[in-house]
Amino acid sequence: MHKLYENLGKIIPLGEMTLQRANLAFITLDRRYLRSALHHLRDVEGYSHLVLLTAVDWIEEDVFQLTYLLSNRTADVDVGLRVMLPRENASMDSIHDIWPTAATYQRELREMFGIDFPGSPRVNEEFILEGWQEIPPYRRDFDTKKYSEENFAHREGRVTKDPASHMKELLYPDRGQ
């Protein structure tokens, strides 16, 4: 892993590396170098499989984190590339020409997080949701409970109990607090 980090660091400037396991590491890098890093990893280092492309909403820092997880099947090593994007009008270069499967992930991210990938096939079509009118639902400033209460009819009689205190009361009623 450290060798890969060194090799990659010789060609492109990299951020920090987090070693999750002996065969799984995450490398942060600037969005400008993502394409060359992906090309290098795929064609030179043997990371031929795009496992997933996903996003995390770091609303406190006002950024989206995109994670491109790649796998080297023969060496049984995974590496994740992390790219930070500003949340405002988030847009990222499409990588569907490197891995065609990325187009599906990008379509999902477009719908669920509102991250645009200009040029990606069918990226502006509806993917899972139909007739969605609110802000993208996976964004953390979308309040799913409030939306559910406002839009879907509710049946009375639902009670929620804290499992720990409820079971304590049920099993040991004489112990008190």
Binding site: E130, P137, Y147, R155
Partner: protein
């Protein structure tokens, strides 16, 4: 509106041009009507007995609960001995099982399937998701109260109910049908506007005719 539902001119293979208006040509615009019981109580009782002993389920699994229906078809639980079988199309079925959570997108398909079924028809809500939302009570995309959108004859509680619970539920449904209380299709026809308003309040991109059988 979707492109394929719009009015357009189509050129046939023989070069003949004709106009197609899918919403008018392919669907019935007439609202459903309530069917009154037949003139004699004895005859209606006989009909209800026959209906209760031939429950044909539409093979449409809407949520995770559909997995509990698979063992029912196979020899271990063998629902066929109760006159219950699964059918591939809505036209052949008279029982719609809503098996678990129902997202807004699936609700649209479930309504279309329900409306295509011939009356008398029954709906069973399976699992706590259909009753009060279950574990998806705060989801942005699942309905919480099934009987607002279609008339439900019976709920089977559980998350998920086991096949034994489903068999007990089917037997309860038979009792309801035999007692002449499973009037869901008539209830739907009588309160059609109320059901449609509820359905349209959650399905934001309503792009089908109001009644599409």
């Amino acid at each position: 509106m979707k492109e394929e539902l719009e009015k357009r001119v189509v050129k046939g293979p023989d070069g003949f041009e004709f106009e197609v208006e899918p919403l008018q040509d392919y669907y019935c615009a007439e609202a459903p009507k309530a069917h009154l019981p037949v003139y004699s109580k004895i005859v209606e009782g006989l009909f209800n007995w026959a209906r209760s002993e031939s429950i044909w389920i539409l093979g449409f699994g809407t949520g995770c609960g559909a997995i509990e229906m698979r063992p029912l078809m196979t020899p271990r639980f063998d629902a066929y001995r109760f006159g219950i079988q699964w059918r591939p199309t809505p036209r052949q079925a008279n029982l719609l099982m809503i098996s678990g959570y129902l997202s807004v997108k699936t609700l649209k398909r479930a309504i279309r399937a329900y409306e295509q079924m011939q009356s008398p028809k029954y709906v069973v809500g399976l699992g706590s998701c259909t009753i009060n939302g279950g574990m998806y009570w705060d989801s942005y995309n699942t309905i919480k109260k099934l009987d607002d959108y279609m008339p439900v004859d019976l709920f089977i509680a559980g998350c998920m109910p086991r096949p034994e619970a489903l068999l007990a539920g089917f037997n309860d449904l038979k009792k309801i049908i035999k007692a002449g209380k499973a009037e869901g299709a008539n209830k739907y026809a009588e309160n059609f506007d109320w059901y449609k308003a509820n359905q349209k309040s959650v399905i934001k991109d309503w792009d089908m005719p109001d009644y599409n059988w």
